[in-house]
Amino acid sequence: MSSSKARRPTHADFVLDNQGRPAIERYTPNERSNHWITAICFVLLALSGLALFHPALYWLTALFGGGPWTRILHPFIGVVMFVSFLVLVIRFWHHNFLDANDRQWLRQTGDVVNNREERLPPVGRYNAGQKLLFWVLVVSMLCLLLTGLVIWRAYFSHLFPIGIVRLASLLHAFFGFVIVCAIIVHIYAAIWVKGSIKAMTRGTVSYAWARRHHRGWYGEVVERESALARDRAAPRG
């Protein structure tokens, strides 16, 4: 990170958390809102989708004002979620390419699940699990949108041959299953790795959190902060 001009701190540098302790900004307010709009849509979609998927869960339609309302609302919420998720993808896709360290990380699943992070290769802004989750979500969201449009009886189903509608019904259920499981893992990981939820509720993580869970990313932050200090001491340009 070198530049010909002296760097000066931005509002994203040297932040404090909600208790006034030094912290690192992980998500901006816009990123947080974007995430939570997607998340709220997801919860509504999972509940309404499961209600229509299995008779044992049909009672969940009561949360939406009954069966017909569940049927009416589900696809519209789905479109909102897809658009919101698309913005998230545009924001974060470039952080999610897997590299050699990530492949090594994936080979050490035992160390991952047993909290032996010191044995793992350095992790950047996202670990391999988070990156994989990202791509699983990308694929699932896209497939759910496409199959969902096909089985959206009120507007689109009549445009497709019955064989395609049947296949789309099955695939929609399949990708619904995949995404629900993926999000359960996502939510559990946030509960498991203490300090993660704050990143998405207040926007910040502690330095120690970053150093322990995302050593590579922590290194980048430290490097930038040191560079800001150097530039202040000896301005260039």
Binding site: V15, F53, Y58, G66, F177, W192, R212
Partner: protein
């Protein structure tokens, strides 16, 4: 519509037994449509409209006798006319099939329906839609091997032939049967109808239709609406009557093993998380690590000339 006087054999989206204490001791019912006797007068369509209080929109002629041209939420039965040039006999045959719900013994619509009790099959075999419970998703259309159910544009509920379940419940035959002037449509127990069909088929064979036969497709467990066809070897001649209808494997999978497996998979994923938390425990940063990293961070901030107050302002602005 709900018919409390009839008992229920199958009920959509229901995993426990349907109210099935009583059974149809008189036997399951069936409507037999003898295509060879049909003259295409459409009296059955009219009777259906009359009994069920249905009035379809008046359409426009398309140059063929089919009127209306397709089943709709207001036309639960439609005569489909086919001109067939029989190369063997050199005759032009007018094949007229009264289309409508086949009342499958294994109904694809009922299998696909997500709303408990929106579709039922009575003990006598009739498959009926209970529109009060219909949510309008159209899965019945996805599940039907015969392309029969239609969603109403007015109320977004699915409609189709009820086999006049309300009439049958009080010992009457369906309206189309009652009105048919040639006796092409008859109604009775399924066994009786099969016997009647056998006589008709023997007669047709004598008259040269060597492939005459009964259409009671085994792929859907047989149907409670059956056809006598002169060309039972080629059902598709009759405006695309399916050769070997079954519930699509896609629908079978979607509404079969997928349901319990997916729920189990979701539950196991959540349980795996719970047990990981209670066995391995959370991944936490110790207080010493926090203090150490914080001290380093404060030192860098000091080097960068960020006073505590300025930091706070940064925070407010961000």
């Amino acid at each position: 519509m709900s018919m409390q006087s009839l008992d229920i054999k199958r009920r959509s989206a229901t995993t426990t037994p349907a109210p099935s204490q009583r059974s149809a001791y008189a036997g399951e019912v069936a409507k037999l449509i003898d295509v060879s006797k049909c003259i295409g007068c459409k009296a059955c369509q009219t009777a259906c409209m009359e009994w069920n209080d249905l009035r379809d929109e008046v359409g426009t002629t398309t140059g063929v006798y089919d009127n209306p041209t397709d089943l709709t939420e207001n036309s639960w039965t439609v005569m489909r006319f086919t001109e067939y040039e029989n190369e063997e006999s050199g005759n032009l045959e007018w094949l007229i099939r009264k289309d409508g719900c086949m009342h499958c013994e294994d109904p694809g619509c009922l299998k696909a329906c997500p709303s408990p009790g929106a579709i039922v099959q009575y003990a006598n075999g009739i498959v009926d839609f209970h529109e009060e419970a219909c949510i309008g998703c159209g899965y019945c259309i996805t599940g039907c091997p015969f392309n029969v159910p239609r969603i109403s544009k007015k109320d977004k509920k699915a409609y189709k032939c009820t086999l006049c379940s309300d009439r049958v419940a009080v010992g009457q035959e369906p309206a189309c049967v009652k009105t048919c002037p040639t006796g092409a449509i008859v109604f009775g127990t399924k066994e009786n109808m099969k016997e009647h069909a056998a006589e008709r088929i023997a007669d047709l064979k004598e008259r040269g239709f060597k492939d005459a036969g009964l259409y009671d497709p085994a792929g859907v467990g047989g149907t409670h609406v059956m056809y006598v066809l002169h060309h039972a070897d080629k059902p598709s001649l009759y405006s695309g009557l399916p050769e070997a209808p079954t519930i699509s494997p896609m629908v079978g999978l979607w509404k079969g093993v997928t349901k319990p497996l997916a729920l189990a998979g979701i539950a196991l994923t959540a349980l795996a998380g719970f047990f990981h938390y209670t066995r391995v425990g959370p991944n936490e940063v110790s207080e010493e690590e926090e203090i150490d990293a914080e001290a380093n961070a404060l030192a860098r901030r000091d080097d960068a000339g960020v006073p505590p107050e300025a930091q706070r302002e940064q925070e407010v602005r961000s």
